[in-house]
Symmetry: C2
Subunit: 209 residues, 2 copies
Protein backbone atom coordinates (compact mmCIF):
# COMPACT_ATOMS: atom_id res chain seq x y z
CA UNK A 1 0.00 0.00 0.00
CA UNK A 2 1.42 3.37 -1.06
CA UNK A 3 0.12 5.12 2.09
CA UNK A 4 2.30 2.80 4.19
CA UNK A 5 5.39 4.18 2.45
CA UNK A 6 7.05 7.27 3.88
CA UNK A 7 6.09 10.67 2.45
CA UNK A 8 9.60 10.91 0.99
CA UNK A 9 9.33 7.48 -0.71
CA UNK A 10 5.88 8.33 -2.06
CA UNK A 11 7.23 11.55 -3.60
CA UNK A 12 10.15 9.61 -5.15
CA UNK A 13 7.77 7.03 -6.64
CA UNK A 14 5.54 9.79 -8.02
CA UNK A 15 8.54 11.48 -9.69
CA UNK A 16 9.89 8.25 -11.23
CA UNK A 17 9.26 6.99 -14.77
CA UNK A 18 6.90 4.33 -13.35
CA UNK A 19 3.42 5.27 -14.59
CA UNK A 20 1.89 4.76 -11.11
CA UNK A 21 1.38 6.57 -8.83
CA UNK A 22 0.33 9.33 -11.23
CA UNK A 23 -2.02 12.29 -11.40
CA UNK A 24 -5.04 10.31 -10.16
CA UNK A 25 -3.32 9.19 -6.94
CA UNK A 26 -1.94 12.72 -6.45
CA UNK A 27 -5.52 14.03 -6.82
CA UNK A 28 -6.79 11.62 -4.14
CA UNK A 29 -3.92 12.59 -1.84
CA UNK A 30 -4.67 16.30 -2.33
CA UNK A 31 -8.28 15.55 -1.38
CA UNK A 32 -7.14 13.56 1.68
CA UNK A 33 -4.90 16.48 2.75
CA UNK A 34 -7.90 18.82 2.36
CA UNK A 35 -10.09 16.50 4.46
CA UNK A 36 -7.32 16.30 7.09
CA UNK A 37 -7.17 20.10 7.31
CA UNK A 38 -10.96 20.31 7.76
CA UNK A 39 -10.67 17.74 10.57
CA UNK A 40 -7.91 19.80 12.18
CA UNK A 41 -10.10 22.92 12.17
CA UNK A 42 -12.89 20.84 13.80
CA UNK A 43 -10.48 19.33 16.36
CA UNK A 44 -9.29 22.85 17.28
CA UNK A 45 -12.92 23.97 17.77
CA UNK A 46 -14.74 21.16 19.59
CA UNK A 47 -14.58 21.23 23.37
CA UNK A 48 -13.85 24.99 23.42
CA UNK A 49 -16.23 27.00 25.58
CA UNK A 50 -16.25 29.89 23.10
CA UNK A 51 -17.54 27.61 20.33
CA UNK A 52 -20.10 25.72 22.40
CA UNK A 53 -22.96 26.94 20.21
CA UNK A 54 -21.49 25.19 17.13
CA UNK A 55 -20.20 22.11 18.99
CA UNK A 56 -22.77 19.69 17.50
CA UNK A 57 -22.27 21.05 13.96
CA UNK A 58 -18.50 20.85 14.22
CA UNK A 59 -18.67 17.28 15.53
CA UNK A 60 -20.84 16.36 12.56
CA UNK A 61 -18.41 18.05 10.13
CA UNK A 62 -15.51 16.22 11.79
CA UNK A 63 -17.20 12.84 11.35
CA UNK A 64 -17.93 13.52 7.69
CA UNK A 65 -14.42 14.87 7.01
CA UNK A 66 -12.88 11.75 8.56
CA UNK A 67 -15.10 9.52 6.36
CA UNK A 68 -14.01 11.48 3.28
CA UNK A 69 -10.37 11.21 4.34
CA UNK A 70 -10.66 7.45 4.77
CA UNK A 71 -12.29 7.07 1.38
CA UNK A 72 -9.78 9.33 -0.40
CA UNK A 73 -6.89 7.48 1.25
CA UNK A 74 -8.28 4.24 -0.18
CA UNK A 75 -8.71 5.88 -3.60
CA UNK A 76 -4.97 6.74 -3.71
CA UNK A 77 -4.31 3.00 -3.97
CA UNK A 78 -7.39 2.22 -6.06
CA UNK A 79 -6.29 4.62 -8.82
CA UNK A 80 -2.99 2.76 -9.14
CA UNK A 81 -4.83 -0.58 -9.43
CA UNK A 82 -7.26 0.48 -12.15
CA UNK A 83 -4.47 2.11 -14.13
CA UNK A 84 -2.50 -1.14 -14.00
CA UNK A 85 -5.58 -3.00 -15.27
CA UNK A 86 -5.80 -0.64 -18.27
CA UNK A 87 -2.12 -1.18 -19.04
CA UNK A 88 -2.45 -4.98 -18.69
CA UNK A 89 -5.42 -5.01 -21.11
CA UNK A 90 -3.52 -2.79 -23.56
CA UNK A 91 -0.64 -5.29 -23.58
CA UNK A 92 -2.80 -8.38 -24.26
CA UNK A 93 -1.81 -10.30 -27.40
CA UNK A 94 -3.49 -9.16 -30.62
CA UNK A 95 -2.23 -11.43 -33.37
CA UNK A 96 -5.49 -13.22 -34.24
CA UNK A 97 -8.81 -11.44 -34.77
CA UNK A 98 -10.21 -13.30 -31.74
CA UNK A 99 -7.35 -12.00 -29.61
CA UNK A 100 -7.92 -8.49 -30.94
CA UNK A 101 -11.61 -8.66 -30.01
CA UNK A 102 -11.00 -9.96 -26.49
CA UNK A 103 -8.21 -7.38 -25.98
CA UNK A 104 -10.56 -4.63 -27.12
CA UNK A 105 -13.32 -5.80 -24.74
CA UNK A 106 -10.92 -6.03 -21.79
CA UNK A 107 -9.46 -2.61 -22.58
CA UNK A 108 -12.85 -0.90 -22.88
CA UNK A 109 -14.04 -2.45 -19.60
CA UNK A 110 -10.82 -1.32 -17.87
CA UNK A 111 -11.27 2.23 -19.20
CA UNK A 112 -14.72 2.47 -17.59
CA UNK A 113 -13.27 1.53 -14.21
CA UNK A 114 -10.24 3.78 -14.69
CA UNK A 115 -12.55 6.76 -15.36
CA UNK A 116 -14.89 5.85 -12.51
CA UNK A 117 -12.17 5.98 -9.82
CA UNK A 118 -11.13 9.62 -10.50
CA UNK A 119 -14.86 10.47 -10.72
CA UNK A 120 -15.20 9.11 -7.17
CA UNK A 121 -12.14 11.16 -6.17
CA UNK A 122 -13.76 14.31 -7.58
CA UNK A 123 -17.07 13.54 -5.81
CA UNK A 124 -15.20 13.17 -2.51
CA UNK A 125 -13.39 16.47 -3.16
CA UNK A 126 -16.79 18.11 -3.67
CA UNK A 127 -17.92 16.78 -0.28
CA UNK A 128 -14.68 18.01 1.31
CA UNK A 129 -14.95 21.54 -0.07
CA UNK A 130 -18.54 21.75 1.22
CA UNK A 131 -17.25 20.73 4.66
CA UNK A 132 -14.42 23.30 4.34
CA UNK A 133 -17.03 26.01 3.68
CA UNK A 134 -18.96 25.01 6.81
CA UNK A 135 -15.78 24.74 8.91
CA UNK A 136 -14.66 28.18 7.69
CA UNK A 137 -18.01 29.67 8.67
CA UNK A 138 -18.29 28.11 12.15
CA UNK A 139 -14.83 26.92 13.18
CA UNK A 140 -12.22 28.47 15.48
CA UNK A 141 -11.15 31.77 13.84
CA UNK A 142 -7.61 31.00 14.98
CA UNK A 143 -7.53 28.08 12.49
CA UNK A 144 -9.79 29.49 9.77
CA UNK A 145 -6.90 29.87 7.30
CA UNK A 146 -6.57 26.07 7.33
CA UNK A 147 -10.16 25.77 6.07
CA UNK A 148 -9.12 28.06 3.20
CA UNK A 149 -6.09 25.86 2.47
CA UNK A 150 -8.43 22.83 2.49
CA UNK A 151 -10.67 24.47 -0.13
CA UNK A 152 -7.68 25.16 -2.42
CA UNK A 153 -6.45 21.58 -2.10
CA UNK A 154 -9.90 20.06 -2.68
CA UNK A 155 -10.26 22.16 -5.84
CA UNK A 156 -6.83 21.01 -7.06
CA UNK A 157 -7.84 17.41 -6.31
CA UNK A 158 -11.03 17.73 -8.35
CA UNK A 159 -9.20 19.41 -11.25
CA UNK A 160 -6.45 16.78 -11.30
CA UNK A 161 -9.10 14.02 -11.12
CA UNK A 162 -10.95 15.56 -14.08
CA UNK A 163 -7.81 15.22 -16.22
CA UNK A 164 -7.50 11.55 -15.25
CA UNK A 165 -11.13 11.03 -16.26
CA UNK A 166 -10.56 12.67 -19.65
CA UNK A 167 -7.46 10.53 -20.35
CA UNK A 168 -9.63 7.41 -20.08
CA UNK A 169 -12.83 8.81 -21.59
CA UNK A 170 -11.15 9.84 -24.84
CA UNK A 171 -10.35 6.19 -25.67
CA UNK A 172 -13.90 4.96 -24.93
CA UNK A 173 -15.90 3.56 -27.82
CA UNK A 174 -19.18 3.94 -25.92
CA UNK A 175 -20.00 7.56 -26.74
CA UNK A 176 -22.95 7.74 -24.33
CA UNK A 177 -20.80 6.55 -21.42
CA UNK A 178 -18.08 9.04 -22.35
CA UNK A 179 -20.64 11.86 -22.47
CA UNK A 180 -22.06 10.86 -19.07
CA UNK A 181 -18.60 11.01 -17.49
CA UNK A 182 -17.88 14.40 -19.07
CA UNK A 183 -21.16 16.03 -18.05
CA UNK A 184 -20.85 14.66 -14.51
CA UNK A 185 -17.32 15.96 -13.95
CA UNK A 186 -18.16 19.34 -15.51
CA UNK A 187 -20.96 19.84 -12.98
CA UNK A 188 -18.69 18.76 -10.11
CA UNK A 189 -15.90 21.14 -11.18
CA UNK A 190 -18.32 24.08 -11.41
CA UNK A 191 -19.68 23.36 -7.93
CA UNK A 192 -16.24 22.79 -6.36
CA UNK A 193 -15.00 26.05 -7.91
CA UNK A 194 -18.01 27.95 -6.55
CA UNK A 195 -17.61 26.50 -3.05
CA UNK A 196 -13.83 27.11 -2.98
CA UNK A 197 -14.46 30.74 -3.91
CA UNK A 198 -17.11 31.01 -1.18
CA UNK A 199 -14.77 29.46 1.40
CA UNK A 200 -11.98 31.89 0.53
CA UNK A 201 -14.37 34.84 0.92
CA UNK A 202 -15.49 33.60 4.36
CA UNK A 203 -11.87 33.01 5.43
CA UNK A 204 -10.85 36.51 4.36
CA UNK A 205 -13.77 38.04 6.23
CA UNK A 206 -13.19 36.06 9.44
CA UNK A 207 -9.41 36.64 9.42
CA UNK A 208 -10.04 40.39 9.36
CA UNK A 209 -12.55 40.24 12.22
CA UNK B 1 11.18 14.56 10.22
CA UNK B 2 7.56 14.46 9.04
CA UNK B 3 8.55 13.18 5.56
CA UNK B 4 10.02 10.07 7.19
CA UNK B 5 6.58 9.21 8.57
CA UNK B 6 4.23 7.14 6.45
CA UNK B 7 1.68 8.96 4.27
CA UNK B 8 -1.05 7.56 6.53
CA UNK B 9 0.66 8.84 9.71
CA UNK B 10 1.26 12.24 8.14
CA UNK B 11 -2.45 12.51 7.26
CA UNK B 12 -3.39 11.51 10.83
CA UNK B 13 -1.04 14.15 12.29
CA UNK B 14 -2.46 16.80 9.94
CA UNK B 15 -6.03 15.97 11.02
CA UNK B 16 -5.23 16.01 14.76
CA UNK B 17 -5.71 18.93 17.16
CA UNK B 18 -1.92 19.45 17.21
CA UNK B 19 -1.30 22.81 15.50
CA UNK B 20 1.52 21.37 13.35
CA UNK B 21 1.63 20.15 10.68
CA UNK B 22 -0.90 22.69 9.40
CA UNK B 23 -1.79 24.60 6.23
CA UNK B 24 1.80 25.72 5.57
CA UNK B 25 3.19 22.19 5.57
CA UNK B 26 0.23 21.00 3.46
CA UNK B 27 1.05 23.83 1.00
CA UNK B 28 4.68 22.70 0.75
CA UNK B 29 3.58 19.09 0.26
CA UNK B 30 1.16 20.11 -2.51
CA UNK B 31 4.07 21.91 -4.18
CA UNK B 32 6.31 18.85 -3.76
CA UNK B 33 3.59 16.64 -5.32
CA UNK B 34 3.38 19.09 -8.23
CA UNK B 35 7.18 19.03 -8.70
CA UNK B 36 7.11 15.21 -8.56
CA UNK B 37 4.47 15.09 -11.32
CA UNK B 38 6.56 17.42 -13.51
CA UNK B 39 9.55 15.11 -12.96
CA UNK B 40 7.41 12.12 -13.92
CA UNK B 41 6.41 13.77 -17.22
CA UNK B 42 10.11 14.47 -17.89
CA UNK B 43 11.13 10.91 -16.96
CA UNK B 44 8.47 9.55 -19.36
CA UNK B 45 9.86 11.78 -22.15
CA UNK B 46 13.68 11.65 -21.96
CA UNK B 47 15.36 8.83 -23.84
CA UNK B 48 12.39 8.44 -26.20
CA UNK B 49 13.28 8.64 -29.89
CA UNK B 50 10.09 10.53 -30.71
CA UNK B 51 11.02 13.34 -28.29
CA UNK B 52 14.71 13.56 -29.23
CA UNK B 53 14.32 17.18 -30.35
CA UNK B 54 13.28 18.29 -26.82
CA UNK B 55 15.62 15.93 -24.93
CA UNK B 56 17.95 18.69 -23.67
CA UNK B 57 15.05 20.91 -22.63
CA UNK B 58 13.29 18.09 -20.81
CA UNK B 59 16.51 17.13 -19.00
CA UNK B 60 16.88 20.73 -17.87
CA UNK B 61 13.22 20.84 -16.67
CA UNK B 62 13.78 17.57 -14.81
CA UNK B 63 16.82 18.93 -12.98
CA UNK B 64 14.95 22.08 -11.97
CA UNK B 65 11.83 20.16 -10.90
CA UNK B 66 13.94 17.86 -8.73
CA UNK B 67 15.61 20.89 -7.08
CA UNK B 68 12.18 22.41 -6.39
CA UNK B 69 10.94 19.11 -4.99
CA UNK B 70 13.93 18.85 -2.65
CA UNK B 71 13.44 22.42 -1.43
CA UNK B 72 9.67 22.01 -0.95
CA UNK B 73 10.21 18.74 0.92
CA UNK B 74 12.53 20.61 3.29
CA UNK B 75 9.96 23.44 3.65
CA UNK B 76 7.32 20.92 4.89
CA UNK B 77 9.47 20.51 8.02
CA UNK B 78 10.65 24.13 8.14
CA UNK B 79 7.06 25.42 8.37
CA UNK B 80 6.46 23.28 11.45
CA UNK B 81 9.63 24.64 13.08
CA UNK B 82 8.88 28.33 12.55
CA UNK B 83 5.30 27.86 13.72
CA UNK B 84 6.60 26.26 16.92
CA UNK B 85 8.92 29.25 17.40
CA UNK B 86 5.95 31.65 17.15
CA UNK B 87 4.00 29.60 19.70
CA UNK B 88 7.02 29.44 22.07
CA UNK B 89 7.45 33.23 21.90
CA UNK B 90 3.73 33.75 22.47
CA UNK B 91 3.94 31.65 25.64
CA UNK B 92 6.92 33.51 27.15
CA UNK B 93 6.26 35.02 30.59
CA UNK B 94 4.82 38.54 30.61
CA UNK B 95 4.42 39.53 34.24
CA UNK B 96 7.00 42.35 34.39
CA UNK B 97 7.27 45.12 31.80
CA UNK B 98 10.77 43.84 30.89
CA UNK B 99 9.36 40.39 30.27
CA UNK B 100 6.55 41.86 28.20
CA UNK B 101 9.05 43.78 26.05
CA UNK B 102 11.31 40.78 25.47
CA UNK B 103 8.29 38.59 24.74
CA UNK B 104 7.04 41.14 22.21
CA UNK B 105 10.45 41.32 20.50
CA UNK B 106 10.76 37.52 20.32
CA UNK B 107 7.21 37.21 19.00
CA UNK B 108 7.66 39.85 16.29
CA UNK B 109 10.95 38.27 15.15
CA UNK B 110 9.28 34.84 15.03
CA UNK B 111 6.39 36.23 12.94
CA UNK B 112 8.82 37.50 10.29
CA UNK B 113 10.35 34.02 9.95
CA UNK B 114 6.93 32.36 10.04
CA UNK B 115 5.76 34.56 7.15
CA UNK B 116 9.00 34.12 5.23
CA UNK B 117 8.75 30.30 5.07
CA UNK B 118 5.34 30.20 3.30
CA UNK B 119 6.60 32.99 1.04
CA UNK B 120 9.45 30.65 0.03
CA UNK B 121 6.87 27.87 -0.47
CA UNK B 122 4.85 30.14 -2.79
CA UNK B 123 8.00 31.14 -4.72
CA UNK B 124 8.85 27.46 -5.23
CA UNK B 125 5.27 26.79 -6.39
CA UNK B 126 5.68 29.58 -8.94
CA UNK B 127 8.85 27.89 -10.25
CA UNK B 128 7.04 24.54 -10.39
CA UNK B 129 4.04 25.86 -12.34
CA UNK B 130 6.43 27.46 -14.87
CA UNK B 131 8.11 24.05 -15.26
CA UNK B 132 4.67 22.40 -15.57
CA UNK B 133 3.84 24.80 -18.43
CA UNK B 134 7.07 23.87 -20.25
CA UNK B 135 6.58 20.14 -19.58
CA UNK B 136 3.00 20.35 -20.88
CA UNK B 137 4.22 22.05 -24.07
CA UNK B 138 7.11 19.72 -24.84
CA UNK B 139 6.62 16.52 -22.86
CA UNK B 140 5.26 13.11 -23.89
CA UNK B 141 1.60 13.66 -24.91
CA UNK B 142 0.82 10.36 -23.23
CA UNK B 143 1.61 11.96 -19.82
CA UNK B 144 0.50 15.53 -20.54
CA UNK B 145 -2.49 15.30 -18.17
CA UNK B 146 0.01 14.90 -15.30
CA UNK B 147 1.51 18.29 -16.18
CA UNK B 148 -2.01 19.71 -15.85
CA UNK B 149 -2.44 18.03 -12.45
CA UNK B 150 0.92 19.53 -11.43
CA UNK B 151 -0.30 23.03 -12.35
CA UNK B 152 -3.47 22.61 -10.24
CA UNK B 153 -1.47 21.38 -7.24
CA UNK B 154 1.14 24.15 -7.53
CA UNK B 155 -1.65 26.74 -7.60
CA UNK B 156 -3.26 25.18 -4.50
CA UNK B 157 0.17 25.20 -2.80
CA UNK B 158 0.66 28.91 -3.52
CA UNK B 159 -2.89 29.76 -2.37
CA UNK B 160 -2.53 27.79 0.86
CA UNK B 161 0.88 29.40 1.46
CA UNK B 162 -0.63 32.87 0.98
CA UNK B 163 -3.10 32.19 3.82
CA UNK B 164 -0.22 31.14 6.09
CA UNK B 165 1.58 34.37 5.23
CA UNK B 166 -1.51 36.45 6.05
CA UNK B 167 -1.98 34.73 9.43
CA UNK B 168 1.48 35.92 10.49
CA UNK B 169 1.49 39.29 8.71
CA UNK B 170 -1.68 40.48 10.43
CA UNK B 171 0.06 40.38 13.84
CA UNK B 172 3.15 42.27 12.64
CA UNK B 173 3.82 45.70 14.15
CA UNK B 174 6.20 46.62 11.32
CA UNK B 175 3.71 47.93 8.76
CA UNK B 176 6.29 48.26 5.99
CA UNK B 177 7.40 44.64 6.39
CA UNK B 178 3.76 43.52 6.40
CA UNK B 179 3.08 45.50 3.22
CA UNK B 180 6.17 44.02 1.52
CA UNK B 181 4.99 40.47 2.28
CA UNK B 182 1.49 41.22 1.00
CA UNK B 183 2.56 42.84 -2.26
CA UNK B 184 5.07 40.05 -2.94
CA UNK B 185 2.53 37.23 -2.45
CA UNK B 186 -0.11 39.07 -4.47
CA UNK B 187 2.23 39.23 -7.45
CA UNK B 188 3.16 35.56 -7.06
CA UNK B 189 -0.51 34.48 -6.87
CA UNK B 190 -1.37 36.43 -10.02
CA UNK B 191 1.53 34.85 -11.93
CA UNK B 192 0.85 31.33 -10.67
CA UNK B 193 -2.83 31.69 -11.61
CA UNK B 194 -1.90 32.90 -15.11
CA UNK B 195 0.57 30.05 -15.65
CA UNK B 196 -1.82 27.38 -14.31
CA UNK B 197 -4.46 28.63 -16.74
CA UNK B 198 -1.93 28.54 -19.60
CA UNK B 199 -0.85 25.00 -18.67
CA UNK B 200 -4.46 23.76 -18.63
CA UNK B 201 -5.06 25.27 -22.09
CA UNK B 202 -1.95 23.55 -23.48
CA UNK B 203 -2.93 20.23 -21.86
CA UNK B 204 -6.45 20.40 -23.32
CA UNK B 205 -5.05 21.16 -26.79
CA UNK B 206 -2.43 18.40 -26.71
CA UNK B 207 -4.86 15.80 -25.30
CA UNK B 208 -7.16 16.41 -28.26
CA UNK B 209 -4.34 16.12 -30.82
Amino acid sequence: MLVEHSVQEMLNELASAAPTPGGGSAAALAGALAAGLVSMVCNLTVGKRRYRSVEADMRSILGQAESCRERLTWLIQRDMEVYSTVMAAYRLPSTSSEERLSRQLAWQAALQEAADVPLQIAECCQNVVQLATDAARMGNTWAVSDAGAAASLALAGAQAASLSIEVNVRSMEDGAAAEAFRSRIERILAEVGRLAHETHAIVEERMEA
